[in-house]
């Protein structure tokens, strides 16, 4: 998903050019900064990171009113991009935070971007955007020197967008005055960023830019776009994946006044000015489907994944497994299972499309507006430049609104073309579950060995179906091999009976559950404290620091598990960040219910741009992750998704909440790494290890539902 081949790159550059022209037509006078990727040192550093989109750019405009607009192809999913990006610009440009407007996710006026996922916005965008703002400041200082008839800009200072000579306070001019009536375009040069000691806004937690919109209900999401003449579409859905439509009688539905029935290839859509009337009409359609009667279900999926897995790919290897076998005096073999889970954002997939002549405009709930434009354009046979995607606020994404999840937008586009009317398609909750690209179910088999001194000497790790991300152990193990077969993308047909895709920290929650459970199991069998056993196998000082910080704050007392206390620990790296999570649980041994009392995560994410925003992400990851750990699993049979709403599919709610503590490790000299995902990978393992510590029963399958734990606890 983050790799760009030559064709994609060429297309992206082309798209960027088109975007720029349109942008200039739209935006009048002002100072415009364009970004050329090879010019900024910070960018070059970032561009060496794997997965960096090499044609990434950003626009900044300083208007005649003094307001600064930042245009980026990212989207606001709730992670706070509008706020953090404004902080970056405000600081480097020396304008007030309130004077910065952030415009996101509009393919016509924002530069091309790969999308909002992978905890990338601050990690990769921050140095770029800071560079753009620093360049703008340098240009404005040069202009001010000329305006004030000074020989050089060296003695000029800036505060809140006003440039003043430090030698003569009467010599001053504002950014707004400087750009008055001018149209200045500059490409980014090599301008240094401010040292950390000079930052005023970066590193603080100002009021979120989206706060007023969101607490007043004024903020618009895709389903809130209401256009004159718009029709709501409800589309006939099959009862199961793999079902084929045999016949559909729409005659009863057609009798409803104002109903328009559209049959187009495989689609039957009921259109009405009122959504509820379209829904009612859909209910009157008599449809017969031929149903599939085979395939794995949620009980047989794990055997199926092992049987259907493609050949293994090597993730990493050190030493020789045969040597490790020789050295090992104690071998532990275990199999870990993880289930399909849904993204279940509160906002279902939504889109509004309208067509004017040859131009198609789509408002969509998406994390990847540029991919969505491409997918819609291709499906419609339109040139990409004739499709504009506008992304309003997105009501949660978590990976479920990325590439290849533009079903609703494509339907809205098709229907607007067929009818000439603006069309809204908003999935109901059942459609949201049915068309979700789930986190894949997975099987992980680990064979490990320790020598006489209790040191790990052997690690053989095989992942089926879940993916190899973060599967390599970061523990010091001389003889190890990690392999993965199948995952959340690029699978052979038939491996996963349901659509799969990236789910917040793809593959890593499964691999961390398996690895950290297994490390815990080995430590337990050796009678060692889980923290101490980890530390003696870790040489990375950053990992030591997060583990020691988390356990100190938690008041962890060394004891081998199971200690009966219900304490569990897990650590991981994700998105270049380090995270350690400690949890305390109480298990009701009669019912199998797990009551999570306390969760503490310590995270080293390098330099922190927005501490409160970071804490929100950590708290959100812990809370959301309790779902896959304790309750969430998608049940399915014969292609039908059996979970259709929040009655059977339980997501974390207020009464589940533990006391949540977050610790941000102070590490400003290291570049910012990802924050949106890391703790979600550790919470499953931390809770599983806590359950083991409480009960002496090792949970080998997530979610640890009450029924599953009760059954395990009743086994002798």
């Amino acid at each position: 998903m983050r790799c760009h081949d030559w064709n994609e790159m060429t297309e992206a550059i082309k798209e960027r050019g088109i975007g720029r022209r349109a942008f200039l037509q739209l935006s009048g006078a002002g100072l415009f900064i364009f970004f050329a990727p090879d010019l900024l040192p910070a960018f070059q550093e970032a561009s060496s990171q794997p997965g960096f989109a090499t044609d990434f750019n950003a626009y900044l405009r300083i208007g005649e009113d003094g307001r600064v607009a930042c245009f980026a192809g990212k989207t606001e999913l709730g992670q706070g991009a509008t706020t953090t990006l404004a902080q970056l610009v405000s600081d480097e440009l020396d304008v007030s935070f309130d004077a910065v407007d952030v415009v996101l996710g509009d393919t016509e006026i924002c530069p091309w971007d790969e999308g909002t996922f992978g905890s990338l916005t601050v990690r990769e965008f921050a140095p770029v955007l800071r560079g753009v703002a620093a360049e703008a400041r340098a240009v404005l200082l040069q202009m001010a020197a000329e305006y004030l008839h000074l020989p050089s800009p060296d003695d000029l200072r800036v505060k809140d967008g006003v440039i003043t000579s430090s030698k003569d306070a009467h010599k001053n001019v504002s950014y707004a005055q400087l750009v008055q009536g001018k149209r200045i375009e500059r490409h980014l040069g090599k301008v240094p960023l401010k040292p950390i000691s000079d930052l005023r806004v970066i590193g603080t937690s100002p009021r979120r830019k989206d706060a007023l919109d969101k607490v007043t209900g004024k903020g618009r999401y895709a389903a809130d776009i209401l256009l004159p003449g718009m029709l709501h579409a409800r589309v006939l859905r099959p009862p199961a994946h793999g079902a084929t439509l045999n016949s559909a009688d729409t005659s009863a539905a057609e009798k409803i006044p104002g109903i328009q029935v559209i049959r187009d290839k495989d689609m039957i859509a009921l259109l009405h000015e009122r959504r509820d009337v379209a829904e009612q009409a859909l209910g009157l359609v008599q449809a017969k489907f031929d149903l599939p009667h085979s395939g794995p279900d949620d009980a047989t999926i794990f055997d199926h994944l092992i049987k259907a897995a493609p050949p293994f790919e090597l993730v990493s290897e050190k030493g020789r497994l045969a040597d490790g076998e020789q050295l090992a005096t104690h071998v532990v073999e275990e199999t870990y299972l993880n289930s399909y889970v849904a993204h279940a954002p509160m906002e279902t997939h939504s889109a509004v499309a309208k067509i004017d002549g040859t131009k198609l405009t789509v408002w969509a709930s998406t994390q990847t507006p540029f991919s969505l434009r491409h997918e819609v354009a291709e499906a419609m046979g339109f040139a990409p430049e004739n499709v504009r995607v506008i992304t309003p606020y997105v009501g949660g994404g978590f990976g479920g609104k990325t590439e290849n999840s533009s079903h609703q937008a494509q339907e809205a586009a098709r229907l607007t073309k067929l009818t000439g009317r603006p069309i809204q398609v908003v999935f109901n909750r059942t459609e949201e579950f049915f068309y979700d690209t789930f986190r894949p179910a997975a099987v992980v088999k680990i064979r490990s060995g320790t020598d006489k001194s209790g040191k790990l000497v052997l690690w053989e790790y095989r992942a089926y179906g879940g993916g190899g991300d973060e599967a390599s152990p970061f523990y010091d193990i001389p003889h190890q091999r990690t392999q993965s077969a199948g995952g959340w993308s690029n699978n052979p047909a038939g491996l996963h009976p349901l659509a799969v895709g990236p789910w917040r920290a793809p593959a890593a929650s499964t691999n961390t559950f398996a690895r950290e459970s297994h490390i815990d199991e080995i430590a337990s069998r050796l009678g060692r404290d889980p923290l101490e056993f980890r530390l003696i196998h870790l040489s990375d000082p950053r990992m030591h620091r997060v583990l020691q910080t988390a356990t100190e704050k938690f008041a962890w007392k060394p004891a081998p598990a199971p200690s009966g206390r219900g304490f569990g620990l897990a650590c991981a790296t994700y998105a270049d960040s380090y995270v350690a999570t400690v949890a305390e649980v109480v298990v009701d041994k009669k019912t199998g219910n797990v009551d999570v009392k306390r969760v503490l995560s310590a995270q080293d994410q390098g330099f922190t741009v927005n501490p409160e925003g970071s804490r929100q992400q950590i708290e959100g990851s812990i809370t959301m992750g309790m779902g896959y750990a304790l309750a969430e699993e998608v049940r399915f049979k014969n292609g039908a998704v059996l979970d259709r709403n929040f009655d059977t599919y339980q997501i974390p709610r207020f009464s589940w909440l533990p006391k949540i503590e977050t610790v941000l490790i102070d590490n400003p000299s290291t570049p910012s790494s990802g924050c949106g995902e890391p703790p979600i990978v550790t919470i499953g393992a931390a809770l599983a290890n806590a359950v083991f510590d409480a009960t002496g029963r090792r949970p080998l399958q997530l979610p640890m539902t009450a029924a599953r734990l009760k059954a395990a606890l009743q086994q002798v």
Binding site: G80, S205, V215, E347, N428, R429, L657
Partner: protein, 158 residues
């Protein structure tokens, strides 16, 4: 049944001629343009569509028009007066008690109903009252803190 239906919406009278079985959610969002009330599940399972009916929080996705006849409906759009935020809204801002914001209007209105009932709920009472409003971003602890702060700043909801 199609008939005259009148009720008060955010302090102003509304008169409709409509099918009285239609759900309030769709009328609010699409007929009256009050899109702050959100669709999340359509089955009273998530709370995104929560509005206030007289003094109670109800799920507008399962509330037919006939049930609001002659009564007072308050939506998120009616909570702040002029540009002044209600103390609950202000507390949500102060605590960053939202991320994507999609569940936020329902959360705020459900909390409003609680504060109408008793001025100083405990943390446990807030959790119990809010439990059926779902949030996927995981803002729960901040929401509880915000409601506690709002409760301290207000009595009886207004």
């Amino acid at each position: 049944m199609r008939r005259n239906i009148s009720f008060t919406l955010n302090g102003k009278p509304v008169q409709l001629v409509d099918d009285d079985e239609r759900m309030l959610l769709w009328v609010l969002r699409y007929d009256l343009g009050l899109t702050g009330t959100k669709f999340g599940c359509g089955a009273a399972l998530c709370g995104s569509c929560t509005v206030i009916l007289d003094r109670d929080a109800v799920r507008s996705c399962i509330t037919p028009l006939k049930d609001v006849e002659g009564r007072h409906v308050l939506t998120i759009e009616g909570l702040s007066s002029q540009e002044r935020l209600h103390p609950i809204q202000q507390a949500f801002v102060n605590h960053h008690a939202f991320q994507c914001g999609y569940c936020t209007p329902g959360m705020i209105l459900n909390a409003y109903a609680l504060l109408l009932k008793g001025s100083h709920p405990t943390r446990e009472e807030i959790i119990r009252h809010m439990d059926d409003n779902l949030c996927r971003c995981g803002s729960h602890t901040r929401i509880v803190d915000a409601v506690l702060e709002a409760a301290a700043a207000t009595t009886g909801g207004n």
